[in-house]
């Protein structure tokens, strides 16, 4: 019997396939095909097709089924938030992450220790998904997409009033909102409805498909129409489409549309200009700097492992709170394991 106590990094570590949980022999959001995977949410940088056994929320499974061309898995298991699953020696359960419909934090319990993997998360309110829940833990593995203090997301309600104001400025220009098809598009729709915009909204086919899943899960997004129902001269109607190259996609067919982009990256003006946004809106489904730091403060875990974004600043700030912090990529990472 070793005298040294077990540490979390002795059983959770980074392998080439992704984050590996040894006593359960499974991965969380693996980047390569594996036998057993727990998936936090349906975005393609987290959910990949072809794994053997997959566990995720029902909404995430529905989203994966719809978005993947090939068979997404061999077997799957739906987990409700809070429902326990025993995988090998590890107890696994999911907690809401507030990122998109079905998004979850993965809670791992083993040998009296608890490690929480945040996946992508946010703490701003969002009626299209369950709100983030704090799960006390020994190690918090946090995302850091906006891990620099310049990212402080404003009130999304005000951003949407700016969009609606554009319709007054340009009564004859259609408004094309570029938003990712899963999550951001539905959030924009919900924000527009919350701002009492009740006209039909025209959405690209890929977005319409995802909205259908949201509707099945009880999220009503109002009167949505397919793009082919747009009239030739759509006035100042609002159109939602995934980002495309200038002149391509729906934007290429419209005369003089106003291009709106909704993203946390729009905080920094060079990003807005680089992407050709005429009206950049700062609306994000990721935690901003203040949310990242205050979540760590609220949880006060033994240790924080930082991944998925800019790591250095968040590690520094966490250490200043008196909490140990490291880059996840440095955890149990043997030679050649870096990706």
């Amino acid at each position: 019997m070793a005298a040294r106590a077990m540490r979390p990094e002795d059983w959770v570590r980074v392998r080439p396939e992704g984050l590996y949980v040894e006593p359960g022999n499974f991965f969380v959001d693996p980047g390569r095909v594996v036998e057993t995977a727990i998936i936090t949410h349906g975005h393609s940088d987290h959910a990949r097709a072809g794994n053997g056994r997959v566990a995720a929320t029902q909404a995430t499974l529905d989203i994966m089924t719809q978005r993947m061309n090939r068979k997404p898995w061999r077997d799957c298991q739906a987990l409700a938030y809070g429902e326990r699953l025993q995988v090998g020696d590890v107890t696994v359960w999911l907690a809401p992450a507030g990122h998109v419909l079905g998004s979850a934090q993965v809670v791992l319990e083993y040998a009296g220790q608890r490690v929480v993997i945040s996946g992508d998360y946010k703490r701003q309110s969002d009626p299209t998904c369950a709100a983030f829940e704090l799960v006390p833990c020994d190690v918090f593995v946090t995302e850091a997409t906006f891990g620099l203090p310049v990212f402080q997301h404003p009130d999304p309600g005000y951003e949407v009033t700016r969009l609606l104001h554009s319709r007054e400025i340009y009564p004859n220009r259609s408004v094309v909102v570029h938003a990712y098809s899963l999550g951001k598009a539905q959030r924009m729709l919900a924000l527009l409805r919350a701002a009492d915009y009740q006209r039909p909204i025209y959405v690209a086919p890929i977005i319409l498909g995802v909205c259908e899943i949201y509707r099945k899960h009880g999220i009503d997004l109002g009167d949505l129409r397919a793009l082919d129902q747009l009239e030739n001269n759509p006035g100042s109607e609002i159109i939602l489409a995934p980002p495309s190259k200038p002149g391509e996609g729906i934007v290429g067919k419209l005369r003089d549309p106003l291009i709106v982009m909704a993203s946390g990256w729009m905080t920094v003006r060079k990003h807005a200009r680089g992407r050709g946004a005429e009206l950049p809106l700062v609306i994000s489904d990721h935690a901003d700097w203040n949310e990242l730091v205050s979540t760590i403060q609220d949880l006060a875990p033994e240790e924080v492992w930082v991944t998925h974004g800019r790591e250095d600043a968040l590690i520094l700030q966490t250490q200043r709170l008196g909490i140990k912090a490291r880059a996840l990529s440095a955890i149990g990472n043997g030679a050649g394991a870096e990706q």
Binding site: L148, P149, V150, F151, Q152, P154, R162, H165, E168, I169, Y170, T267, V268, R269, K270, A272, R273, G274, A277, E278, L279, P280, D312, A313, L316, Q317
Partner: protein, 483 residues
């Protein structure tokens, strides 16, 4: 300051003039007085605000922001003011109004300016802080001209631009009677007939399709002079010199203003020699001539100049022609006459706000040159001195205004701050490593200059970020063009 921040933000992303127009009209429709008046004054450059330089900004950042996080953020964002706007721990919802902010800035003492800036930043949200810092750091300039602002005011008030000009020049910021009138809350203010800018006939570049229409019975041809368009106004006992955009530049041209006769508004081109070549008269003997066709106005101008000959003011002559080929040959010889092309003007139409005159410029030549010095001008623009190698030293060959898209400007500002080697007042010397492409119309011999020549009408086209400075040819290529 939310509406102001939103305005500046929208303007900075608007791809062209017609959108900027719509944004401005909308702003004036919604903004309360006196906010709108102060904003109009700032946008037109009518009032100068004290400037906070990068050194003072960095001090503020050092006092209030975490050093490491600030440095990392600045590296990421690029622009200093933008970084501070993003990081500053403001308390949004302080509802500062732009009118108060502008007035406090105007009255600020140099010694208290930094404290005032910090105090304002505390009360603003991110986008407001960005717009506010742009105001006090002087750059990058909001891309609207004074004329565009007045055109927007005219549309907002349902009147024409010259009526706005007239009232504008009779008032001082924040122009409350003007906004009361435009907003339908008051009478048109009596102007007391102060000398005001009268928008001149505008010109546009000639197009292939125009050539078929040109006939000497319908169009006058004149030289397009190599200078700056000016308007000389003498009305109600006062004299003013205005730029093309309607900026009052009398102070810089006092000898010229002394030559203006009472009761006239003259339109012409100011040459480097100080001489003005006149081509239009909009008011004579206090009578508005704008409803008259151009050939009548030109004959009035001619008799006006003959009645009162002044050496510095001369009539821009007509160019006799019968065919378009004649015009082409004038154009090809323009530089021999100190002109940069020819102008073609419809004879029988009265003044209108349309672009009625056609400019047919000599094709610009292009070359590249190395950035030597940068100077921040009082109005916030940046002037660049460019040089070419003569022997083994770089010699200045021309000066251009850095008028680039906003992202290029911020890239340039960053480059300058990283490559500054020396500083003399507002002039900064930089490492001679950055290559600029410029257009120019001709090369003039200039024996007293180190280069022996100077580019005429140089215009900055773009920065060739990837071109190494030693790939720029030496000056002999230009010497061959000098005359």
């Amino acid at each position: 300051m939310r509406a102001h921040a939103d305005l500046v933000d929208r303007l900075s992303h608007a791809p062209d003039k017609s959108y900027r127009h719509a944004i401005l009209v909308d702003y004036f429709r919604h903004a309360p007085s006196p906010d709108c008046g102060w904003v109009a004054a700032v946008l037109t450059g009518e009032i100068g605000l004290p400037r906070v330089g990068p050194a003072a900004l960095k001090r503020l950042a050092a006092e209030r922001l975490d050093e490491t996080l600030f440095t990392w953020s600045r590296d990421y964002v690029g622009d200093l003011g933008e970084t501070i706007a993003l990081l500053w721990p403001g308390l949004p919802g302080g509802d500062l109004c732009i009118a108060d902010v502008v007035q406090e800035l105007i009255e600020a003492e140099k010694s208290t300016l930094s404290a005032l800036v910090a105090n304002c930043l505390d009360k603003l949200d991110t986008r407001e802080r960005w717009a506010f810092l742009r105001l006090v750091t002087g750059g990058p300039r909001v891309p609207v001209s004074a004329l565009e602002v007045k055109q927007a005011l005219a549309e907002f008030g349902g009147t024409d631009t010259s009526a706005v000009e007239e009232v504008w020049h009779s008032l001082t910021p924040p122009y409350e009677p003007l906004f009361a009138w435009l907003g339908g809350r008051g009478e048109k203010p009596r102007t007391g007939g102060l000398p005001v800018f009268h928008p001149p006939v505008a010109a546009r570049p000639i197009e292939e399709s125009d050539l078929n229409l040109i006939e000497s019975s319908e169009y006058f041809a004149e030289w397009k002079w190599d200078g700056a368009r000016v308007q000389l106004v003498g009305l109600n006992g006062a004299r003013r010199v205005f730029s093309r955009e309607g900026d009052d530049i009398t102070a810089a041209h006092s000898e010229l203003s002394a030559l203006i006769l009472e009761g006239t508004v003259l339109d012409g081109e100011l040459l480097a020699s100080g001489e003005v070549r006149l081509f239009d008269i909009l008011v004579a003997e206090a009578r508005d001539l704008r409803p008259e066709p151009y050939d009548n106005r030109r004959s009035r101008l001619q008799s006006h100049l003959e009645a009162d000959p002044v050496l510095k003011l001369s009539l821009s002559p007509l160019l006799a022609y019968t065919t378009v080929d004649d015009l082409k040959s004038y154009r090809s010889r323009a530089s021999e006459y100190g002109a940069i092309g020819i102008m073609v003007k419809p004879r029988h139409v009265p003044w209108s706000p349309r672009e009625d005159w056609l400019a047919w410029n000599i094709d610009d030549r292009r070359t590249s040159a190395v950035l030597l010095y940068c100077e921040r001008m009082r109005n916030g623009t940046l002037e660049l001195t460019l040089g070419r190698l003569r022997g083994n030293a770089l010699a200045p060959v021309g000066r251009v205004r850095a008028d680039l898209p906003e992202d290029e400007m911020s890239k340039l500002h960053d480059w300058i701050s990283e490559n500054r080697t020396d500083r003399f007042g507002p002039v900064q010397q930089v490492r001679p490593d950055l290559v600029c492409e410029v257009a120019f119309s001709a090369v003039d011999t200039a024996t007293r200059r180190k280069a022996g020549l100077v580019l005429r009408n140089p215009k900055l086209l773009r920065i060739l970020w990837d071109m190494p400075a030693d790939a720029v040819m030496d000056i002999s290529e230009l010497t061959g063009l000098a005359r």
